[in-house]
Symmetry: C2
Subunit: 378 residues, 2 copies
């Protein structure tokens, strides 16, 4: 049995997602559930159809609430520890799609406090600078500025704190030690932090759906144990896998630049990284590859196309067939990915530039932002 | 050896103050130090002269800073768990006197968050209501509204939080377990709270002097371990004994109304409580009392006069002599205290009524308050 570990602060080893569903006690997203979402949305989304979002809690109840007119809202977030890579965009791109299709509010928490507390060498000023930079990338996903509220913890704390206290009073040290693995060396800021991350699930008296990577689930587990006793809904969640790192195992990491493609990587850097580091399912020589074919199941370039960059099912099927049969070489597969990646990044950066103007709407002046700064009583 | 325990949340048994000085590692306030304060202040204060403030940390350095023009500032606070009794006024009355004599800024933290987190049955709304009510009593001590800032944690958190994070990052669970006795059942709000109580010691880049009851010292011990590495002064403190409860042992408690005289007690209630509950050092019968005399050292009424209500040394000496010799009966001693108490309370309540007008100066509009809401950058 392979060793792996998934916590909000670390992903280690080769993640067995089926085992995670068991360990975390979540539900697999069935074909049937995917169909239901597609029916209501009137459209299919590649990340759902291809199983990148693979697990959930109460997604069925969210759809029921929607169908029966009670509605729901979306919540996700980002720990601003540094520049964002393409893996970080997965929950945002999917959340933006859900917002489009269901026309619901989205709350995006930028946890500058948590990143400061968690990273020994990061100053609070640095965490805040990354909060701003990351917000631009998030806005580039295309959210509706009137229905989306982006906030930095250290700035919005005045509104968050009273509810965080009510949450914190119901969570003891035994619980956070068991759920998050805190030890005697954990600082008392990080120990309190889970209370804050739970607060936005109570921003509305409706069900909250959280699209996020599976490593964030421990927070929702704690939330679900106390939500109803506080008069709110248990949080619903839809969990994504990690985009595999170029190098194959664990999750992409800011501290290992060769493992990830960053949103700011130049076309040249992208080419270099994919060519040099992308773990290949191909054979050692062209001759052998033509004869034996490649293995797309372990080939990172193919996986990236599948998860993210080739939404066209027919095209993807053709690539898979060609690669498996040996007709397509690793170099050709990589070229294809590089082109897709660079086109995505170019578009992203254009949007990111426009985000510098839009950010004040998301944070202060848009309809939802104004409501959250004035009317919202914690 | 008698068992006793002093923590910020509990005082149990008959407190041995000499032992506390050893356990906490503080300094005794010497005659010489008292003289020094009196010299600079140009006046003597009953609570210092009579040893109610009995222990300190770096008070000598505070006086040196003052003498050499570097100045200092005062910080104290209140956990708003319910109505205040006369014991709660000790640090405020003394702090007000220090402010008058040294003309320095005073910061008063009302910890509505902590009380909510600590008291199982208290709602946050209730804690906030007590915060307001208690602030009126505190203002009645007579602080300078231009040099005093009173704030409620849940309201001022936006300014407190960034520095609280910097403090929290330097304190781990092992430390708060050792210093505050936190256990697995302690909630994660209370675990974080020490970081907040430390923040005001960094409001100015000068030495901070904290007049407070000795049970608060564990916070300052933690502060002193990290202050200098953050570029600030170690907090200085001046510690008071507890006003003994009417019933003799431990500390006065809101949950045992017979143990305390509340600031809202009517003259009739005061009379009743003193007559009925004040532990007496007198003899069982008048005859025996005349013959053997009373014991002022254990007599609560006498102790209250000594600590608080009879600042005139000559008058106090006469009472002590008369009581010890049997010339003064317990009933007479109690009558004297009742009269003193009721006159203090009457004056207090007049000032408290005026505080309803003044509170906006202390919290928002006075010179120091305005600075702390606008200029202060945490």
């Amino acid at each position: 049995m392979e060793e792996f570990s998934v916590t909000p602060w670390e992903v280690r080893g080769r993640v067995d997602y089926e085992r995670l569903i068991q360990i975390f006690g979540t539900q697999r997203i069935t074909e049937e559930l995917v169909k239901k979402v597609e029916e209501i949305a009137g459209e299919s989304h590649v990340m759902l159809r291809r199983g990148i979002f693979f697990s959930h809690r109460d997604l069925d109840l969210v759809l029921k609430d929607y169908a029966e007119g009670r509605g729901f809202f979306l919540y996700t977030g980002r720990g601003p520890s540094g520049p964002m890579h393409i893996g970080h965009m997965i929950p945002f791109l999917f959340t933006k799609w859900l917002q489009d299709k269901f026309r619901v509010n989205v709350y995006i928490m930028i946890t500058d406090d948590e990143k400061f507390l968690d990273e020994p060498n990061m100053s609070l000023e640095e965490a805040r600078r990354w909060a701003y930079e990351n917000a631009l990338d998030i806005i580039a996903a295309g959210f509706d500025p009137e229905r989306t509220f982006i906030f930095f913890d250290t700035e919005y704390i005045g509104k968050l704190y009273p509810m965080a206290l009510k949450v914190a009073k119901r969570i003891n040290l035994n619980t956070v030690r068991a759920v998050f693995g805190f030890t005697g060396e954990t600082n008392i800021g990080l120990t309190f932090y889970p209370a804050l991350q739970i607060v936005p699930t109570f921003f509305e008296r409706r069900r909250c759906l959280i699209p996020a990577a599976i490593d964030q689930d421990p927070y929702w587990r704690v939330q679900r144990d106390l939500a109803e006793s506080m008069g709110y809904y248990k949080a619903a969640a839809i969990h994504s896998r990690f985009l595999p790192p170029l190098t194959g195992e664990g999750k992409m990491s800011t501290s290992k630049p060769e493992s990830a493609i960053f949103l700011h990587d130049s076309p040249k850097e992208v080419r270099l990284k994919i060519m040099k580091y992308a773990f290949s399912g191909g054979q050692p020589t062209v001759e052998l590859h033509r004869k034996l074919g490649g293995n797309p199941d372990v080939d990172v370039s193919f996986q990236w196309l599948k998860i993210y960059f080739e939404p066209d099912d027919a095209k993807l099927a053709k690539i898979e067939e060609d690669y498996r049969s040996g007709r397509m070489l690793t170099g050709e597969l990589k070229e294809y990915l590089i082109e897709r990646l660079n086109s995505f990044l170019e578009q992203h950066r254009e949007r990111r530039e426009r985000a510098r103007e839009l950010i004040r709407l998301f944070m202060y002046e848009g309809e939802l932002a104004r409501q959250m700064w004035s009317d919202y009583k914690p």
